[in-house]
């Protein structure tokens, strides 16, 4: 049984793609071999920056011959049909078998496909794999049309028999002829050499300074780095992502440790780490005594006569240049920060956030207003929330953030402290962007929560106000992420927040800004007045009408008639608000699905009172899902649906709405009377429980209706000939619907 060795030798493969590529090579090759009938005992794949390698053990010498039978026409079929069958099966008439069948005698052809040697199959499969390799990005080079991640230079492909003799698999892909040679390290290797099998290959590579296995390289780097740090009385700052990347950048890792200049010790640790990791791929080394990052470890790809002295000196120099750049930014920034950050904030006035939505400064003004509203509701001081919103984005004008955008917020925090602002404000500068992804932590400090919510709601309402909602896969402004952020901040902090009024207010702020040019002074004043009224009344419609009524009586009042600016805004804001809330509900469903809450259960809880209170929706949905697992709950849904169907059909047929006036005096049997009594009891109980936001109790009270409803349907025919009794019963069914609707809209449930 031969072993197979394949090496695809190319120019440097990006580190981040290597592991996946080695795995793809193994999977695609072995799948292809097995599919062609060539089974194997074991396979392993490896990668270095310049090669992908696959070793397959215990391959079959050849795929076995396969015989299959094919059923043909009956023996008395027309001659043409029999000839056709012979042709397609490639079998002579005398070789056809005749067999008895249910329908009579039929011809059977036995077709034998001979076995094929492993080399043929390997060549065929490898060519397919190379030509269709799933690189995340591939390229052409020179004048050829073959695609690979970088120019492919050689293909090693040998089968080694049990006697240890290697045979090159005959294969040529776009002029690249497979052979049995490879080369070692780019600078420490000794040129090309031939190999006879995997063991020989791995050993020869090691001699030519290539560690084939990436896991071994990573272990080696980690161990060397820890030893270096330990020997200096320090500790390595763990960074698995960096370790994997660095292991993919070298064939022969050599860790070297250097010192960070004293003059850079004043820089924030985040700046040091970011600069070293992003630019240099250095590990950070911390001094446990000072808590500071004082050294770096770089991993070279070569052993040198001076034991890396030149390399380390060069790396140190590059780092010093990078850090002196960072220090230049930091010192410049500190001057501005300590003077209160005025120029930064001013500069944000000339930076456009979005063409229609205006400058960053205008955006900050809106976020401040909302943060001030939200502050007290989330336990923050309104002034502090306002102050935090004012400075939270100041660092966008700073030089450090211009250089390292990923440090936005973190730098803001440092600068706010330097500006002498309270700790809560400084913390909010860093935290108000959170959460950035599904696994990112949400802010919990009240001031941070207020600004984080205000920031995200302002973005959402803004893009809604200019009609730039996400569509399909297009979400250039990351509005889905913003919505998820709002949801997670609210839920994970257990905030009970009526979002409606804040969404309305912020939409109105956007509309005021968007219409600032074309609106008259009177119109703007009116809109501002409505904004104040919303804050007091909490409902946009009522506030709008109140203000319109008030000014309608005055002289020289702005136009509020049909088609006027005020009227159109008055009409539009509630629509946008409803639509945005629906978007939040959609995101909520996605989020809760991961928590195991059914989407239809959430649907059943959305369009009720408090649909803009996310925490309330979730509490309700959890209680509902819980009750649905009980027998009563499950059956209640059936009873409810039955009642609902009968009622809906009757309403459609009769063209009336049965919504009021069920009277126990028309009730006939004990089951019907019992249902009246049960509904009376449930109505009060559910209302009380909902009022107290005790949804478990509300759902229990609702589930208690199951028995009387079932009994009712068992005993009573709703559509009787007696019109009075029928109407009474339909009105009774309507009561079931209305009473249950206090707890949840069961009609939304599936199944």
């Amino acid at each position: 049984m031969p072993d197979l060795l394949i090496e695809l030798f190319s120019e440097e493969i990006p580190a981040r793609m290597q592991a996946r590529a080695a795995d793809d090579l193994r999977r695609l090759m072995t799948d292809g071999l097995v599919e062609a009938g060539l089974t194997y005992a074991g396979a392993a794949a490896f990668s270095t920056p310049r090669r992908l390698t696959l070793a397959v053990e215990g391959l079959l010498d050849e795929c076995p011959a396969v015989t299959e039978e094919r059923r043909g026409p009956r023996t008395d079929a027309p001659e043409k049909a029999i000839e056709g069958f012979q042709r397609s099966a490639g079998v002579a008439r005398e070789d056809l078998e005749i067999r008895d069948d249910k329908k009579g005698q039929v011809y059977i052809a036995r077709i034998t496909r001979p076995g094929r040697p492993a080399a043929d199959i390997v060549a065929e499969v490898l060519e397919q794999v190379v030509r269709n390799f799933p690189w995340p990005k591939s390229m052409r080079w020179g004048a050829g049309s073959l695609r690979w991640v970088r120019p492919l230079h050689s293909v090693l492909c040998i089968l080694t028999n049990s006697a240890g003799e290697a045979h090159v698999v005959p294969l040529e892909i776009d002029g690249l002829r497979a052979g049995d040679t490879t080369e070692g390290h780019r600078f420490m290797g000794t040129g090309r050499f031939a190999v006879t099998g995997y063991e020989d290959y791995a050993a020869r590579l090691r001699r030519d300074k290539v560690m084939l296995d990436p896991a071994e390289r990573a272990r080696h780097i980690l161990q060397e780095a820890e030893n270096l740090a330990f020997a200096a009385g320090m500790e390595l700052v763990a960074d698995d992502g960096l370790l994997a990347e660095v292991a993919g950048l070298v064939e022969w890792p050599v860790a070297l440790m250097g010192e960070i200049g004293q003059e850079f010790m004043e820089l924030p640790a985040e700046v040091l780490q970011t600069s070293m990791r992003e630019h240099q791929k250095f590990f950070s080394v911390r001094n446990p005594k000072t808590g500071r990052i004082e050294r770096f470890i770089t991993v070279a790809n070569i052993e040198t006569a001076d034991h890396g002295a030149t390399i380390l000196a060069g790396n140190g120099k590059v780092l010093a240049a990078r850090l002196s750049d960072a220090r230049f930014f930091w010192l410049n920034d500190l001057r501005v920060a300590r003077a209160g950050m005025g120029p930064w904030l001013e500069q944000l006035g000339s930076v456009t956030f979005e063409r229609q939505l205006g400058s960053q400064a205008a955006r900050i003004a809106r976020i401040r207003a909302l943060a001030r509203d939200l502050g007290p509701l989330v336990g923050a001081d309104a002034d502090q929330a306002d102050e935090a919103a004012r400075v939270a984005k100041a660092d966008l004008s700073s030089e450090m953030v211009y250089e390292f955008p990923e440090l936005q917020g973190v730098m803001g925090s440092y600068y706010a402290r330097e500006a002498g602002l309270p700790d809560a404000v400084a913390v909010a500068c860093a935290e108000h962007y959170a959460p950035l992804g599904p696994s990112d932590a949400v802010p919990v400090a009240p001031v941070s929560v207020a600004v984080a919510l205000a920031d995200k709601l302002d973005t959402l309402t803004g893009f809604w106000a200019i009609d730039q909602r996400p569509t399909g896969s297009k979400d250039p402004f990351a509005l889905r992420r913003a919505a998820l952020g709002v949801i997670r901040i609210v839920l994970e902090n257990g905030l009970q927040l009526k979002l409606d009024r804040h969404v309305d207010a912020q939409l109105l702020r956007h509309k005021i800004a968007l219409n600032a040019r074309k609106a008259s002074e009177g119109e703007i004043d009116t809109l501002e007045e409505i904004l104040r009224e919303v804050a007091e009344r909490g409902v946009f419609g009522a506030a709008f009408r109140a203000v319109i009524d008030r000014i309608g009586r005055g002289d020289g009042a702005p136009d509020t008639g049909e088609g006027s600016l005020l009227r159109s805004i008055g009409d539009l804001v509630p629509d946008l608000s409803t639509d945005l809330l629906a978007f939040l509900h959609d995101r909520l469903k996605v989020y809760l699905r991961d928590e195991g809450l059914r989407h239809d259960v959430i649907d059943a809880c959305l369009e009720l009172d408090g649909g803009d209170d996310l925490a309330l929706i979730v509490a309700r949905a959890r209680a509902l899902q819980e009750v649905l697992t009980t027998e009563d709950g499950e059956n209640l849904v059936q009873g409810f649906k039955r009642a609902n169907n009968i009622l809906t059909q009757a309403e459609e047929r009769d063209g009336v709405e049965y919504s009021y006036g069920a009277d126990v005096k028309f009730a006939e049997g004990p089951e019907e009377k019992a249902l009246f009594a049960a509904l009376d009891a449930a109505e009060g109980a559910i209302a009380k429980a909902v009022e107290a936001e005790d949804f478990t109790a509300a759902m229990a009270a609702m589930a208690a209706l199951r028995a009387p409803i079932d009994a009712f349907f068992e005993a009573v025919q709703v559509n009787t000939d007696n019109a009075v009794v029928r109407r009474n019963r339909l009105n009774l069914l309507s009561r079931i619907r209305m009473i249950c609707l206090q707890a949840a809209d069961l009609s939304k449930l599936e199944g």
Binding site: E12, K137, D325, F353
Partner: protein
């Protein structure tokens, strides 16, 4: 590979050695393009010549301007005006990496003593509508070159593929010469009667341009110039290809491309002035790209771009 006996002694020596190395490899030694560009890639000898079927091999120095990188001459290795060395060979030869490493040896880098690595860096020029795959080449952790196989330029697939090498000359030379601050680097031979440092030549200019770029450049004028260059580019290409005066077919891809270069530089200046927001940035980049695309479309209609009557 030719091993140089002596290390280079000045900035210009590094340049001269690169020139003679690439001349020996058969490249045409071109001169810088006479316009303000952000990188050597903008030179028509790269952008336009990477299009079409015709083989090409050229190398040149290109003064490049990146207004946002100005540091008043104080930063040890950041400059708003610097030099790039650019090599473009089409089709890319199979041993381009070795050729490149040979050029490092030619300027005195001992490959057995240093750590030279090819680190993934896919090149993309959103303003040129161009991209390629390749690496930044590190020498002891310092990026000394950009190495790219062009895949697309101006929205056109590159076939054959050009191999492009870009050396950041100051950084590379500083490293080879052991200078810690760019301004201290010898520009000419330090043993000549009038030795000049890089600072003697450029420090004052760096200071002046830093102030101008960051705080003084008239943004109203720049915005206007941007629009003008954009309009002129379209206007040039709007002409019929047949010249009524000479009766010849003359496409004018390069004059139009000059306007594209101009718009790109003005955009960079506006960016340095901090008057373009992240969202607007995309729009401006898109506008320059549209120009580059039109110029590329025009170039492939020319003889040099492979057009045949």
């Amino acid at each position: 590979m030719a091993q140089n006996q002596e290390k280079p002694r000045s900035f210009q020596d590094v340049i001269l050695r690169l020139q003679s190395y690439w001349a020996a490899q058969g490249c045409a030694m071109l001169q810088p393009y006479d316009m303000e560009v952000g990188a050597g890639t903008f030179h028509p000898a790269t952008t336009l010549r990477s299009l079409g079927l015709r083989p090409w091999a050229a190398a040149y120095v290109q003064p490049s301007r990146r207004p946002t990188d100005g540091r008043y001459g104080e930063n040890p290795n950041r400059l708003q005006h610097y030099y790039q060395y650019q090599v473009l060979i089409k089709p890319s030869p199979p041993g381009l990496q070795e050729l490149y490493l040979g050029s490092l040896e030619a300027i005195g880098i001992d490959l057995r003593l240093h750590d030279v690595r090819f680190v993934e860096d896919d090149w993309e020029s959103p303003t040129l509508g161009a991209w390629g795959l390749g690496w930044e080449v590190w020498c002891d952790g310092m990026e000394v070159s950009q190495f790219t196989y062009f895949q697309q330029v101006g929205g056109h697939d590159c076939a054959p593929v050009s191999g492009e090498l870009t050396y950041g000359l100051e950084r590379l030379a500083m490293y080879v010469l052991g200078a810690d601050h760019v301004m201290d680097m010898p520009f000419n031979d330090p043993n000549t009667p009038i030795p000049l440092s890089y600072g003697d030549v450029f420090r004052q200019a760096e200071e002046e341009y830093s102030r101008y770029n960051f705080d003084v450049a008239n943004t109203d004028v720049l915005f206007k110039q941007f629009e003008e260059a954009e309009a002129e580019c379209a206007a040039i290409l709007g002409n019929p290809v047949d010249d009524p005066k000479t009766g010849k077919r003359i496409v004018m891809a390069q004059p139009a491309y000059d306007q594209c270069i101009k718009a790109s530089h003005i955009f960079n200046l506006l960016d340095a002035r901090g008057v373009i927001s992240p969202t607007e940035r995309q729009a401006y980049i898109g506008r320059v790209r549209a120009l580059a695309k039109q110029c590329a479309d025009a170039f492939v209609q020319t003889e040099a771009g492979g057009w045949a009557a």
